[in-house]
């Protein structure tokens, strides 16, 4: 027997304090999970994606699957997603390096885990609407799923992240009732505008550029 019952409170306290230290240090470096510059750039990629979609992927304003160049649409939004993830990763890496930490952490893993269901649901909805031939209605679903993912991430981050998530959820619910073309413009407002506002807010008020 390594220790007896009477020693457990002290040992538990040591474990608890070590966990507190680790989580606080993780939270401190992951505080800017989306920094000011990252927010501005992610918003910019989304707006570019919307403009390209409107003028390169659609043949008319009805926006059913018959009027959409699906390969072009997939290429545009895959590129936007890749550019956004790469931007956030590089900015996080820079922030972590400034305090001598690695960009991957246990908290980072939990953030990815918590965001995964929302992104998976987004993928499922995309495939489902493709199957229905109604891909033009995807925008509201993307906002809802992204909002769900960001709200979950907000549990491990600062309040503005939760606020951002809920903003996407509400905007997504609203967008479901809009026409496909108006929904596309809402993409510019949300994925573009919301991220840019978040980036400016984070940079100006917190100095986390």
């Amino acid at each position: 027997m390594l220790y007896q019952l009477d020693d457990e409170p002290r040992l538990e306290e040591a474990y608890e304090n070590l966990r507190l230290i680790r989580e606080t240090m993780d939270r401190s470096t992951k505080h800017s999970s989306l920094s000011g510059v990252a927010g501005l750039l992610v918003g910019l990629w989304a707006i570019i994606g919307v403009v390209l979609t409107r003028y390169a992927a659609y043949e008319s304003s009805s926006l059913t699957v018959r009027h959409v160049h699906l390969i072009t649409l997939a290429a545009i939004w895959t590129s936007v997603l890749f550019a956004s993830v790469a931007t956030d990763y590089l900015m996080n890496k820079r922030a972590a390096a400034s305090v001598g930490k690695h960009v991957f952490s246990s908290l980072g893993a939990r953030i990815v885990q918590s965001a995964a269901p929302g992104f998976t649901a987004g993928l499922v909805f995309t495939l489902y609407l493709l199957w229905l031939g109604q891909i033009g209605h995807i925008w509201g679903f993307w906002m809802l799923c992204y909002g769900l993912a960001i709200s979950s991430v907000g549990l491990f981050s600062v309040k503005p992240v939760s606020f951002l998530g809920w903003s996407f959820l509400l905007a997504g619910a609203f967008t479901l009732f809009l026409s496909p073309i108006d929904g596309l413009w809402m993409m510019a407002v949300t994925f573009g505008g919301f991220h840019i506002c978040y980036g400016l807010f984070t940079g100006v008020t917190r100095g986390e550029w």
């Binding site: 409170p9 002290r10 507190l20 230290i21 606080t24 401190s28 505080h31 400034s98 917190r206």
Partner: protein, 119 residues
């Protein structure tokens, strides 16, 4: 020299672990959180600490004052956009105390696992 109350804490009884001093200033949960954040992030302002640690203004102020009093953190005051802006940073003394405290915790855990007396 810090005015911190460094109390000798004996890990109780039957383990017989007699560890070196545990710094009671850092041992307090809120102050431990503050030191962890400052050591990890470096210079941080009041608002960052408040949101990261989920504390009220009053509670955070009290513990920051205590850490400043013992010399574990330094305070930087400036005007940002014409508004007062206060930032905090762990001093070298504070970082050393934090490392020492962390080592003490790790020794408690290591000793319990190995059944050995801590060094």
């Amino acid at each position: 020299m810090s005015r911190s109350v460094a109390a000798a804490v004996t890990v109780s009884g039957k383990l017989g672990l007699s560890l070196e001093e545990i710094d009671e200033t850092i041992h307090q949960k809120v102050r431990l959180g503050i030191m962890s954040a400052l050591v990890a992030r470096g210079l941080s302002d009041f608002r960052f600490l408040k949101e990261t640690l989920g504390l009220t203004d009053g509670n955070l102020s009290i513990h920051l004052a205590k850490l400043e009093e013992v010399g574990y953190i330094s305070v930087h005051k400036e005007f940002l956009h014409r508004k007062p802006h206060t930032s905090y940073e762990a001093t070298e003394e504070g970082k050393i105390a934090f490392d020492r405290y962390l080592n003490a915790l790790e020794r408690i855990v290591h000793s319990a696992r190995s059944g050995n007396q801590p060094v």
